[in-house]
């Protein structure tokens, strides 16, 4: 297997994440698009690890770190979305314009 096929698939997933991040109005769906992008990064890390075969499995360990940070990000992100929804009765990112001048 060549390495590029995994990189192209990762790039495709990442681009779809970018697209979803830009078009979604609901904050929960924006977070879902971010998860897609993080997953593409994980795929790249594992593919490079499989190609390089480092002695310390660096790609796999950093994929685990990315998964951990993504879990923390989802927890905090959903808590913030919940708080915004409770205060403003809406979780749509285009209606959150209180900090606009």
């Amino acid at each position: 297997m060549s390495l590029v096929q995994f990189l192209v698939l990762g790039a495709f997933m990442f681009s779809l994440g970018v697209y979803g991040l830009l078009i979604r109005r609901n904050a929960v769906m924006v977070l879902l698009a971010i998860e897609l992008m993080l997953n593409a990064v994980n795929l790249n890390l594992i593919a490079f690890e499989a190609a390089l075969r480092t002695a310390f499995a660096g790609g796999q360990i950093f994929a685990i770190f990315v998964i951990t940070v993504a879990a923390a990000e989802v927890g905090i992100g959903l808590a913030i979305v919940l708080l915004i929804f409770r205060n403003r009765r809406s979780a749509n990112v285009d209606e959150l314009d209180v900090m606009r001048w």
Binding site: M1, S2, L3, V4, Q5, F6, L7, V8, L9, A11, F12, M13, S15, L16, G17, V18, Y19, G20, L22, I23, R24, R25, N26, A27, V28, M29, L32, E35, L36, N39, N42, L43, I46, A47, E49, A50, A51, F56, A57, G58, Q60, I61, A63, I64, I67, T68, A70, A71, A72, V74, G75, I76, L78, A79, V81, L82, L83, F85, R86, A91
Partner: protein, 179 residues
């Protein structure tokens, strides 16, 4: 290209890649938030399959446990609590789809061009031989022990922060604590 299809693992890759591409496309195009979250499950499961193909068993099962088991459940809770639009007639996208698609296509083009020109010659060798979980454990507690502890602190901070952010403020509670 003829040699590419001769390898059996490439057929597995093609199968899983089409599955992932379809699921990822539906994550960002589905009009129902719950469907979007469930298609993310499919995309993640496909990615875990690719991890198994690349010999990263431990990370594959961590992905299944942490993402499919926990994060998606968190998302579904978030969808239910914020009463996100789940009906078919709600407008979930903003109208600037053309600009977003342009940005995504340009991102894809730049990434594909740079990966092909930089790593086009590299091969994934020794497919099917997995990394021993023992090695990952040794490295996490050896070479990577400082980032490991840092990331565990981040997780703890996120846990405390999430509880603090999401709890309802009870009026007069601070006064009682002072007494």
């Amino acid at each position: 290209m003829g040699g590419w299809f001769a390898e059996a693992t490439n057929w597995w890759f093609l199968l899983i890649a089409i599955f992932i591409a379809f699921a990822a496309l539906r994550v960002v195009t589905a009009t129902n938030v719950v469907h979007s979250a469930l298609f993310l499950v499919a995309a993640l499961a496909g990615t875990a399959g690719l991890f198994l193909l690349l010999g990263a068993q431990f990370v594959a099962w961590v992905l299944v446990l942490v993402y499919i088991g926990a994060v998606i459940v968190l998302f579904l809770f978030g969808i239910m609590i914020t009463r996100a639009p789940t009906g078919p007639k709600v407008e979930v996208d903003n109208p600037r789809k053309g600009l977003a698609a342009t940005a995504a296509v340009l991102t894809f083009a730049v990434m594909v061009y740079s990966s092909v020109s930089a790593f086009g010659h590299m091969e994934v060798t020794k497919v099917g031989t997995g990394t021993a979980t023992e090695l990952i454990g040794d490295q996490l507690m050896g070479r990577f022990v400082l980032p490991f502890e840092a990331v565990s602190f981040v997780l703890l901070a996120a846990l405390v922060g999430g509880v603090t952010l999401a709890r309802k403020d009870v009026p007069g509670e601070d006064v009682e604590e002072e007494q």
